[in-house]
Symmetry: C2
Subunit: 584 residues, 2 copies
C-alpha cells in the first residue's frame, strides 16, 4: 500500500470553490486559501438559519494506546461511507499542532484511503489559525510584562499621573499567563524572562521572573476558539481571560490590560472554519484543536453549526477515549452551545482491546508486541472490559452507541466476528467492521448503515453527567464516581484552597474539566481494562475564565512536549519539484 | 480627510483573481487567500521567461526622522502615477512586522490615497509568511537545544551508538541562533532557558543557558527569503545557516542538525510573493521584510523578478535613507541576483530637511516642532546638505536620480519651489512635487513623468561601491569613506578577532552589511545634515552564512523593540459588524 503522503499527492482534487458550490454556499462567503482550502464566513450560517439541523454523529473510542485507535480515520471514513450510501455528510475535525508533526506522532489528517487532503496543507499552517493564536496569546504576554515593567519602574502614582491609566498593581509572583509556541520545545518549559542585557548598566528588559512556554494548542485562546459561538462571543471571552492577580489577590484580565480587542483583531479570520475535502471529494471542516486534558478536546462549535445546516449528518471527533473527549463534549461543549449528539460511533480495535489485558507494554516510537497483532483470544477476552466501560459510558449520556471495529491487515475474521457479537452483548445498539484505512468510503458503508439504522430507530434522551450548579467538589466527585467508575475524588490541601478561592470569587458554577491521563479510564496509566475502586487525586485546580471552565490536574500534565533524539523533522525535506517528502 | 483605515475600508476593491487576470497571469499560478490577496506561484515566472524585463525604479529617501519621509506612500503613489500616464507599473514592497503595528508606529501600507488595500490584511498576517518564518526559525532552535540535551545527557559516544548519528559536540556557550517572536516584547530580550521544573528532582528540560528572542523580521531566514532566487536556492541557504559552534570552534549548521529540510517545508508557501492592489486598482507584490540594519532592508528578489516580467516599470522601496537601503540594495541584493535599478526616486520633504538643520528634537510619539512645519527658509537652507549627500550618493552607483518632494498640507509653494530648484542645482536629473497622500495617482503624475523622461534620456552605468574580493576591513572602510563620507572605520579588538576568524574560515569574500543608525548618515544619530570627518566604530562583526553577508555592528542594535506605556493595541478592537477599528 502507498504511504499517506503518496496517496494524498496522487489524489485528484476538486477546486475548493467547486466543493463549496456543491454544498450550496454562496461565493461571497467562501474565501479560498490556495486552490484546496477555503475559510467560510460565519455569515453563511445566518443565511441558512431557516434550514433544520442535520444529525450529529460523535466519534469516540475505547481507551487508546499511544498509537491511537483510528478515530480520525473513522471520522473521515464514516463521512465517506455515509456519502456512499447516498447521504449528505460533512466531517468536523480539529486542526493539528505542528509540534507532533515534526516530533514523533506525524500528521493527523487520518490515514490510508480515509484522509483529508492535501495532507501537507492540513498538517502545516492550514489557514494560519494556530499562528493567529500564538500571536494573540503572546501579544497578551507582552502587554502584561510591559505593564508590570512600566508600573514598577515608575511607581504606581507617577504611572497613573503620566499615563492617565489606573495602575493595575500586578503581583509579578502571580502571573498565570505563560507564553506559547507551536513546537515541541522542552528548553522553553521553565525559563526566566526580563533579565538584564549582558553589559548593560540598568535592566531595561523588565522584572526578572520565572516563566515558561506551553505548546500553542494548550492556550486558553484555543479552547475559546473552539467554544465561542460568534466573533463577538470570542471577543467577550478574551476579555475575561485571567492573566495575573494583583497585590490584593484580585484577577487581572485581558480587558484590564486593554489588549483583548487587539487579540480579537488578530483572530478575526481565525474564527472562520476552514473547508477542505476528503479523498472521495466529501467536505470536511477543520477548525480549532484544544488539548483534551487541560481543555475539552473538541473542534469548534461554529464549524459544527455551519455543517449542521449544510448536511444530513455531521461527523465529529472527540479527543482520546469516551471518558475524555466525549465526556467533555457533553458536559462542556454542549453547555457552551454545541449540539448534543444524535448517535455515538465508538471506535475500537482488536489490538487496542488486547492491550487492555495488561499483558503488554506499548511505547510510542517502538514496535507493537506480536501478542497484540496476532490472534490472541485470551488477551482479547481480558481486555474486553474496556469496551464494556465505554459502551456503558456512552449510555450514561442517554446516547445510542454504534461500535466501529477499526480493522487492521492482520486481524482475523474469527476474532472480528467474536468482537462484533460481544459488542452487541455488552449493550451496543449497533456494531460493524470499519475498513476506511484500506478501502475508504466503501470500507465504511457497513458502519454508515448501522449509524443510520440506529438513528432512525432510537431517539437520544441526552443528559449531562453532573449538575453545574453543584459545588466544584461535588462535580469533581460526580465525574470520578459516575463518570469513571472510581470510588471517590481526593482533593489536595492546595486544591481545596484554590476551590475555596474560586467559590469566593463566584466561579463555582462552571463545568469542570479533568486533566488526567488518556491511557486509562482512571488517573493512573497503568490501570488497564475497566478499573474500579480507584481514588482520583486532584492536585491542583485552575480556572479558564474566558473558556468558561475550571480544570483539575490529577498529576503533572505535560503542556510542552519535548523532542526525541531522532525526531520526524530529520527526514522531512523538499524534492526537486518542490514537493514535501517524508511527512507522515 | 478620512483616516487611513476609513479610506481603505471605503475603497471599492477588485477581486484579486480579476487583477491577476489583467496582469496576464494564468489561473493555475494564482492562489487566492481570501478575495483580495493571492500568492503567485514562482512557476509563473518560468512561463514568462521569454519576455523582456521592465524598468526598475528604486525608491529611497533622505535621512529620515523617526516619522519616516513617506517612502511607501511614494512607492505606491509613483506606481499609480505611472499607471495614470498610461504605463504598466507594479509596486514591490515589504511585508511589515506585526510588532510595530501594535506598538507605536502603526501599519506600513502607505497612507491617505496612496495605500495598499485592504490595509488590515496587509498589516496583520497577510498570507502568513512571517508566521512561517517564526515557525521555521524556532524549529531550528528546538532542534538545536534538543540535540545539545540528548548528547550532553547521554555522552557523545553512547549517543552515537544508540542513534547512529554523529555527535555534533555543540558548545552550549557558543549558540548563536536566538529564538524569534513577531512582537515588541522586551521581557524576552535576555532570558535563561532549559531550567529545571520547580519541584522536579532532575532537570528534564535541557541545559540551562542564556538565550533571547529577536523580533521575527530580524531572523536570518527573513533575509534569506528576500535574497533567494528560487525554492531550491532558499533550501540550500537554510542548510548553510550557522546555529552554533562546536567545542573545536567549527560551525554547526542547520544542515548538520538535519533540520534545514523541514524548515524549507515550513516555508514552501512563503517563497511565493503575495499579490495585492493599491487604491486605484494597480498591482502590488508584498514579499519579505528584512531589517535594514543587520540585514539588507529590501523586498524579495523573486517578487521583483515576477513583476519585471509583468510590467513596464517596477517600483520598489529600499529601507531608510539611501546610505542604508539603497546601498544594501546595490551591494547585496544586486549581487545575489536582483536587477540593478534603472532610476532612483529620492523622497524628501520640507519638514524632514528642516530637521537636518539640527535645530529641532524629533521624538517618536511626540508632536513635531512648529519650526519644522511652518515656513522656515533658514532651517531648510541649513538642512539642504542632507539632500546634497543623498543625490551624490545615488550618483556613486551610476544611477539617474529623480527627487520626489513629498508634500504636506502646511507646505508653502514658495518653499516647495525653492526646493525644486535646489534639487536640480545639486545635481538631480529630475525633480517634482509628489502629492500621493492627498491625491493618489493624480498627485504623482508629475513625478511619474519625470521618471520616464529621465529613463528615456539617461542610461544607468551601474557600479558597486566596493569590490567583494577585498578583505572585510577594506570593504568596511570603503563603505565608511566612499559610502558615508566619513574619514575611516575603527575596528574594535573584538571585531578584529572576529574578522580574522571569518577570513580563516573562508567567509571573507561576502558583501558587508553595516548595522548603523538610520537617523544619520554617520553612526551617530545626533550628526544631522551631511556630517564629515567622522570615524565609524565597528564594535562587532557577525556572519549570516545562509543569507550570504557579513554584518558589522556600530553600536548596540535593537533586535527586539519594547512597548511603551500607551501602546497602539490599547485602541484596537473589533466593532459590532466585525470590522477592525483604530488600526492605523
Amino acid at each position: 500500500m502507498k504511504s499517506d503522503i503518496e496517496i494524498s499527492r496522487d489524489a485528484k482534487l476538486m477546486p475548493v470553490t467547486e466543493l463549496a458550490d456543491q454544498l450550496g454556499l454562496q461565493t461571497e462567503h467562501v474565501e479560498p486559501y490556495g486552490h484546496y482550502k477555503a475559510k467560510i464566513s460565519l455569515a453563511a450560517g445566518k443565511d441558512l438559519a431557516h434550514k433544520p439541523d442535520g444529525r450529529m454523529v460523535l466519534v469516540t473510542a475505547t481507551t487508546p494506546t499511544p498509537f491511537g485507535e483510528g478515530k480520525t480515520v473513522n471520522t473521515i471514513g464514516i463521512t465517506m461511507g455515509l456519502n456512499k450510501i447516498g447521504r449528505n455528510a460533512i466531517s468536523c475535525i480539529r486542526q493539528p499542532s505542528m509540534g507532533p508533526v515534526f516530533g514523533i506522532k506525524g500528521g493527523a489528517a487520518g490515514g490510508g484511503y480515509a484522509q483529508v487532503v492535501p495532507m501537507e496543507d492540513f498538517n502545516l499552517h492550514l489557514t494560519g489559525d494556530i499562528h493567529a493564536i500564538t500571536s494573540a496569546h503572546n501579544l497578551g504576554s507582552a502587554a502584561l510584562d510591559t505593564r508590570v515593567f512600566h508600573e514598577e519602574r515608575e511607581g504606581y502614582e507617577a504611572f497613573e499621573q503620566r499615563t492617565g491609566l489606573k495602575a493595575l498593581r500586578i503581583d509579578p509572583a502571580r502571573i498565570v499567563w505563560r507564553r506559547v509556541v507551536d513546537h515541541n520545545d522542552r528548553a522553553l518549559r521553565q525559563i526566566t524572562v526580563g533579565q538584564k542585557t549582558c553589559g548593560a548598566s540598568t535592566n531595561e528588559n523588565g522584572i526578572p521572573r520565572p516563566e515558561g512556554f506551553d505548546i500553542t494548542v494548550a492556550s486558553e485562546l484555543m479552547a475559546i476558539l473552539a467554544l465561542a459561538t460568534s466573533l463577538q462571543d470570542m471577543r467577550a471571552r478574551f476579555g475575561k481571560v485571567i492573566m495575573a492577580y494583583n497585590h490584593d489577590g484580585e484577577p487581572v484580565t485581558a480587558e484590564d490590560l486593554q489588549v483583548a480587542g487587539a487579540m480579537a483583531a488578530i483572530m478575526k479570520e481565525a474564527i472562520k472554519p476552514t473547508l477542505m475535502q476528503n479523498l472521495e471529494g466529501g467536505a470536511c471542516f477543520v477548525h480549532a484543536g484544544p488539548f483534551a486534558n487541560i481543555a475539552h478536546g473538541n473542534s469548534s462549535i461554529v464549524a459544527d453549526q455551519l455543517a449542521l445546516k449544510l448536511a444530513d449528518y455531521v461527523v465529529t471527533e472527540a479527543g482520546f477515549g469516551s471518558d475524555m473527549g466525549l465526556e467533555k463534549y457533553c458536559n462542556i461543549k454542549v453547555r457552551a452551545g454545541g449540539k448534543s449528539p444524535d448517535v455515538v460511533a465508538l471506535v475500537c480495535s482488536l489490538r487496542g482491546l488486547k492491550s487492555h489485558s495488561g499483558d503488554f507494554q506499548v511505547v510510542a516510537g517502538r514496535k507493537l508486541d506480536r501478542g497484540m497483532i496476532d490472534p490472541n483470544l485470551p488477551a482479547l477476552e481480558k481486555g474486553i472490559s474496556n469496551l464494556r466501560f465505554h459502551i456503558n459510558n456512552v449510555k450514561k449520556y442517554g446516547l445510542p452507541c454504534v461500535v466501529a471495529i477499526n480493522r487492521f491487515p492482520e486481524d482475523t475474521l474469527d476474532e472480528l466476528g467474536w468482537l462484533l457479537e460481544k459488542a452487541k452483548e455488552l449493550g451496543a445498539d449497533g456494531a460493524a467492521i470499519s475498513e476506511g484505512f484500506a478501502h475508504g468510503g466503501e470500507g465504511c458503508m457497513a458502519v454508515a448503515n448501522e449509524i443510520e439504522r440506529v438513528c432512525n430507530a432510537q431517539k437520544p434522551y441526552f443528559q449531562y453527567l453532573y449538575n453545574c450548579e453543584d459545588t466544584i467538589t461535588t462535580k469533581l466527585n460526580d465525574l470520578v464516581v459516575k463518570g469513571y467508575g472510581g470510588s471517590k475524588v481526593v482533593i489536595s490541601e492546595q486544591a481545596k484552597a484554590q476551590i475555596a478561592e474560586l467559590e469566593a470569587k463566584g466561579y463555582d458554577h462552571l463545568p469542570v474539566c479533568m486533566a488526567k491521563t488518556q491511557l486509562s479510564i482512571s488517573h493512573d496509566p497503568n490501570l488497564k481494562g475497566e478499573p474500579t475502586g480507584f481514588e482520583v487525586p486532584v492536585r491542583e485546580v485552575r480556572l479558564s475564565a474566558g473558556a468558561g471552565f475550571v480544570y483539575a490536574l490529577c498529576g503533572s500534565v505535560m503542556t510542552m512536549p519535548g523532542l526525541g533524539s531522532l525526531p520526524g523533522y530529520m527526514q522531512i525535506d523538499i524534492d526537486e519539484d518542490g514537493n514535501i517528502i517524508n511527512l507522515s
